[in-house]
Symmetry: C2
Subunit: 274 residues, 2 copies
């Protein structure tokens, strides 16, 4: 069993200093509550609602920057895994990224491949598959927000052997029909169930420049069953949810069936890529 | 708007005569309740729990056989679309099939590609993509039960322009954690939402040779929102659920995003088929 925390944070591009300190504080709080894997939202250190590229630049962090160094220190001192969605500047480009840190330091980082809404105005789309890495707490995949709606993308994580998918997200309220739980959570449940992997989605909360948010962080087990769900009224409030879950050892679902082995890739490839 | 019926039927290999008459009666009843698209469960005319190949042979139907002829007659007389899961004998092989019929006759049939449990002992696995056909009531896809857990397969239906997926199913109770709605329904909701298509799943009910069933027929709109759900206690009872839904005209989800156009197939192909 591993104890997971998903931190639902209040993000605002107009107060990035607060975003950064809140991110570090939430990690410390999760550690004090015995979390072993800690997931933070998309763009945790900057906020989401950029109006111009200058805001992207000034709110960006480098991989070797002060924030990441502090996260590494927390991870080493406490033997935890930290996954943070953040605005990363690298190679003179800006990336909507997710960084994975464990007791050995930065294990890797991922750039969002499926950009949503206006994100393409500010960020370079990622060109690499979902990051899947061995950490001190298991084999962990990461992708970001809209990525998970592309079932092919979740499959790539499963095919690389992920036991847990850490999903930093900022789920916008865009007039979708309200359901309980929200459809964003239902999609997470199905992705977990169909790929036999634990999923921890850290969403954000509170209005930002007039934009509302679903605010529905969730942790499921590898059957897709909800183990922890944020108090998820629209925009909601800052909170950390926790769950103790078992990581899957394989992709079998019965003694005769296996969601990985039962795939028939020869039937998929020719048509899928039209 | 189109009015859809999903018929949840009591199936039993030990009384195939009843299965056949019940299937026809349920179609007539759905017609009398103004249904325009009528979906029946997997293996509606035979039952599911075969013990030997002889039972498969004696309970099979041909495409030109009496049952299909009666369905065609009902479809022509009433201008409805009928999708039936059935045991089809064709080319001296047995197929766990789904047949699509409209006012023009048999539009096509599909053989289940992802066989579950012991099905491979009795049926030849299909080698063709999900069937997607134009009917008098819209562009309709069909696949069967376990197929829908393969998100690649639902994508193939979407990529072929399906507006509605008709899913004959026999969802077994195999010790999965009970959720409300069942995880089988949650997977249907996510598939609808991620592919912007209506889904009508017709499940079966009542114990068969000691096997229990989820018994949770469901119709969702193209956002994945449940529009009709069977009274779905385990094994449940015979019933027809109805919903009037709008068929999608495209795959857009906002003015800037589209679940089909936002795919990045060049990133999927190389890795997906490992």
């Amino acid at each position: 069993m591993v104890r997971i925390a998903a931190c639902q944070l209040s993000l605002n591009i107009e107060d990035t200093e607060y975003c950064v300190s809140q991110a570090l504080d939430s990690i410390s709080k999760a550690i004090s509550n015995n979390a072993e894997i800690i997931v933070l939202p998309e763009l945790s250190t900057s906020g989401y609602c950029f109006q111009n590229i200058s805001e992207v630049q000034t709110s960006s962090q480098s991989i070797g920057g002060e924030f990441v160094v502090k996260c590494v220190q927390l991870a080493k001192e406490n033997d935890v895994v930290i996954v943070v969605g953040m605005n990363i500047e690298n190679d003179s480009k800006y990336w909507n990224a997710s960084i994975v840190i464990d007791n050995s330091g930065v294990v890797g980082w991922y750039a969002k491949a499926h950009l949503f809404g206006d994100e393409g105005k500010f960020f370079t789309p990622g060109e690499k598959a979902p990051l899947v890495v061995n950490t001190s707490k298991g084999r962990i995949a990461t992708m970001i927000c809209y990525d998970i709606e592309f079932s092919e993308w979740v499959r790539l994580a499963m095919l690389q052997g992920a036991q847990l998918l850490a999903l930093p997200t900022n789920w916008p309220e865009i007039g979708q029909t309200k359901t309980s739980p929200p459809m964003e959570v239902i999609r997470v449940q199905a992705a977990a169930s169909q790929n036999k992997m634990v999923i921890a989605a850290a969403d954000r909360c509170t209005t930002e420049r007039g934009q509302n948010w679903v605010s529905s962080s969730v942790i499921t087990n590898f059957e897709g069953v909800i183990e922890a769900l944020a108090d998820s009224t629209i925009n909601s409030k800052t909170q950390i949810i926790y769950a103790e879950v078992e990581l899957p050892m394989d992709t079998s679902i019965t003694d005769k069936n296996d969601v990985r082995k039962d795939r028939r890739p020869s039937l998929y490839s020719s048509i899928l890529d039209k």
